[in-house]
Amino acid sequence: MRDTFHKELESLDQDVVRMGALVEQSTLMVTTALIESDKELAEKVKRGDQEIDDLFMDMEKRALTVLAQQAPVAGDLRLIVAILRVINDLERAGDLTFNIARMVEEGDFGQPRLKPVKSIVSELGNAAAHLMGRAIDAWAAKDEAQCAEIATEDDEIDELHSVLLEKLVEMKGDNALALGVRLALVGRYFERIGDHAVNMGERARYFLTGNEEHLS
């Protein structure tokens, strides 16, 4: 019964995974673009964000239509609300990769003296992408244990972010401050991508359990 409704819910659910995969890929690509000062790759990331934004708009509209026309309740309601919240997180994460890509285009991160710092940035970017990947897997599997683990893995990203900031503060030489500030922003953006992955895990867990304690 209500085939159209439940098929649309399934379709939206799968599109969350698709959107998450785009964000994960974007995060990996922009990390590579940064490390290798690859401005062409950075441009590709920026174009890719448009695809993420288009998917976000489409899914938001479809989710609102489901709410208006189908009056979902119980698990279906929690799922639609989770989808609406999660696509917000994913769209923001996409915007953050766009911001990093723009900084790669405008900045000069190819200098040798940045090498020690860039290895931390590389770890940070890959950790954020990996956490986003874990969040997508947990969402797709609808597995509570996997969802619960996401929040704890965020600690690694926070730690890397702290180490990066310490190293940036120690940087010396021409333009050290300007470069330091830009890389600090990049670090912050990666850390925020990690936060969005954590939000996704929390929302998936709340959908599964209906327990408000799992929202924070």
């Binding site: 019964m1 209500r2 409704f5 439940h6 009056a71 979902p72 309740v73 119980a74 698990g75 279906d76 309601l77 929690r78 359990t209 209906g210 327990n211």
Partner: protein, 267 residues
Amino acid sequence: MNPDTSLGNAPVFAVKDLDVHYGSSLALKGVSMEIHPRRITAIIGPSGCGKSTLIRCFNRMNELIPGARVSGEILYHGENIYAPGVDPVMVRRRIGMVFQRPNPFPKSIYENVAFGAKINGYKGDMDELVERSLRRAALWDEVKNELKKSALDLSGGQQQRLCIARAIAVEPDVILMDEPASALDPIATVRIEDLMQELKKDYSIIIVTHNMQQAARVSDETAFLYTEVDEKTSARWGIMVEFGETSNIFTKPTDKRTEDYVSGRFG
């Protein structure tokens, strides 16, 4: 029967292991639940699961059906309404009922409201009782200048509110409603639902509805009934699957059958 109705927050009804048979067929099995004061309790479930059978147990209306038999207990303010010696007519005087199709008497608006009170031997100011009942049923302003008009000249929604006024006039503390809005247009339905929110300040209300959104909108607690089937004999009877706060039934029900029903995965 003369139960003490001043028991604060104690349950108005306590249903214990209720079974209902029509002849040799079991219609409802093992229902246990409580109805709490000044709350609206909705009974939902698929067609044929025993919703109307259950609500008719609260005022012993099932006995008007030949062959109907009730076992178990329903305590009304602590007194079993099915105890030997309890007069079902007396029970029905204290517990009003509103039906799916409005059924005003073929009398004036005034007489409809006054009728039950007169039979109960009401000695107070009848004009005041009629006005108070019509006001509480949100109908007074529309009919105050036409109280002698026939009730049958009113619209469907007005007739239903008149039936509610009639039920209130005998000063019950419980109002039973069996699909009260399903014969009404959407605007009349909204008025009945708004009226229920007002009425629950003074009355406990039990409503049977097949409209889940309505149950979700108006009720504080919801009971979900479902049909069990004997594979060998194909006999079917209703059981209570889940009973709880409406917000929980519609956001995180505990039983999968409830989840599937409210989500429309079966009907």
